[in-house]
């Protein structure tokens, strides 16, 4: 999983439109995959650190909690219904979003496209 987030970090650095969309986004996001914690810290749209948990000391703005199989489905070029979007994961009971949801919604396009950077095909948008 850490390799996937590193891949996302690298691809984000090469995506000027996302860096522009995320220029006001400087927050830490927790991705919780079946209890395994990954803290992604963003600074002005770039991912500046990826730290594995567990951690009780790391503050985060919002969290996406899901499972590895659901993420594998999410990152397919054409995911099955429900697995195609982070809110879809929530709707089908395979994901949960905690914390400051308004912060997520204000930066929703940015965050969804960042998560989609690990998709199998570049032709399919987040």
């Amino acid at each position: 999983m850490i390799d996937t987030f590193t891949h996302i970090q690298t691809r984000l650095d090469g995506a000027p439109h996302l860096l522009r969309l995320g220029r006001l986004f400087s927050e830490t996001v927790l991705i919780d995959v079946e209890g395994d914690e990954y803290y992604l810290t963003f600074e002005k749209g770039r991912i500046t650190s990826i730290v594995e948990g567990p951690s009780r000391k790391t503050p985060w703005r919002f969290a996406l909690r899901t499972d590895g199989e659901a993420l594998a489905q999410f990152w397919k070029a054409r995911p099955a219904p429900g697995f195609h979007d982070i809110f879809g994961l929530v709707k089908i009971g395979r994901g949960r979003i905690d914390g400051d949801i308004l912060s997520l919604v204000k930066n929703l396009r940015f965050f969804k496209e960042v998560m989609g950077l690990a998709r199998a095909s570049e032709e399919v948008a987040a």
Binding site: H84, D85, F87, G88, V105, K112, A125
Partner: protein
């Protein structure tokens, strides 16, 4: 260079005691088919079907922007009004457009909130139509989000709305049409998407009316995309089951905005739906 066959004009009608200047587009000839856009969008959602010569050879497709949407103005005094769409205002608007344009028992095709109001009209004014194509339509949808997110002074409601509804677009949708669809939401006026969602997510009055719809006189065909998170295939099936004689088609590779997000994928389902609608006496004569 190419010039499309779609033409646009304006119509002024009275709705709930005030004048509304309404923009409408049309293309084709023959049986009138009135098309209703989704929440937070406008007539551009229908442009692909209106440019389809095979469909418009025998069907006069007409679409209009609801007041507050697209090129239709909000009513005078809107600057101090909170826009909250209601079932009664929506019904009155659709009927006013039909009367204003002199349409004789049109087919009514509506998507999302347009599909919801199509079913309301089927229950309450069925005799004024020759059939109903209810797309991504269901009896009731409580919000799985906070509608107030989309109208606040510290954020762009249109951009947030577009980012939210992108969850309802199929990964099979061509990328250009995905973004053309989202652009309409980005352009939506402040508070308009929220006001539409208020109608869509809070009014349950359709549920007890569904069994009263007489599909023997006016057929009802419901179409739903598998990638629609808002009106899921299960929601559409439940709704169809509550309407005696209603038919249902599930589109495996489409989402909540099928005519807009994936026109080629939607086309056969729309042609099939048109074939299920009865020809009115006046048209057949």
């Amino acid at each position: 260079m190419s010039i499309e066959p779609i033409t646009g004009r304006y119509l002024t009608v009275t709705v709930q005691g005030t004048q509304r200047r309404i923009y409408f587009e049309e293309a084709g000839q023959g049986r009138p088919v009135l098309c209703l856009h989704t929440a937070g969008a406008d007539t551009r959602q229908w442009r692909h079907l209106m440019n389809d010569a095979e469909i418009t050879a025998a069907n006069r497709l007409i679409a209009f922007d609801m007041p507050w949407h697209g090129k239709s103005l909000p009513p005078e005094g809107f600057e101090t009004e909170e826009y909250l769409l209601t079932t009664d205002a929506y019904i009155e608007t659709v009927l006013a457009v039909i009367d204003g344009l002199g349409l004789d028992r049109p087919v009514l095709a509506g998507c999302s909130m347009g599909g919801r109001i199509a079913l309301q009209l089927a229950a309450r004014h069925g005799h004024k139509f020759s059939g109903f194509i209810a797309i991504e339509a269901s009896d009731f949808q409580p919000a799985w989000y906070d509608i107030d997110w989309f109208h606040r002074p510290d954020a762009h409601g249109g951009e947030m709305g577009a980012a939210l509804v992108s969850a309802n677009i199929s990964p099979f949708a061509p990328n250009a049409e995905r973004w053309n669809t989202l652009w309409m939401f980005m352009q939506s006026g402040p508070g308009v998407f929220r006001g539409d969602l208020s109608f869509y997510t809070k009014d349950e009055s359709l549920i007890p009316r569904l069994p009263t719809i007489d599909t023997g006189k006016t057929p009802v065909h419901i179409i739903v995309g598998a990638y629609d998170l808002t009106c899921t295939p299960e929601d559409a099936k439940r709704t169809a089951n509550a309407i005696p004689g209603a038919t249902l088609a599930v589109m495996d590779e489409l989402g909540h905005f099928p005519m807009s997000e994936h026109p080629e994928g939607f086309r056969p389902f729309f042609i099939d739906a048109l074939g299920r609608m009865s020809i009115s006496t006046a048209e057949a004569a």
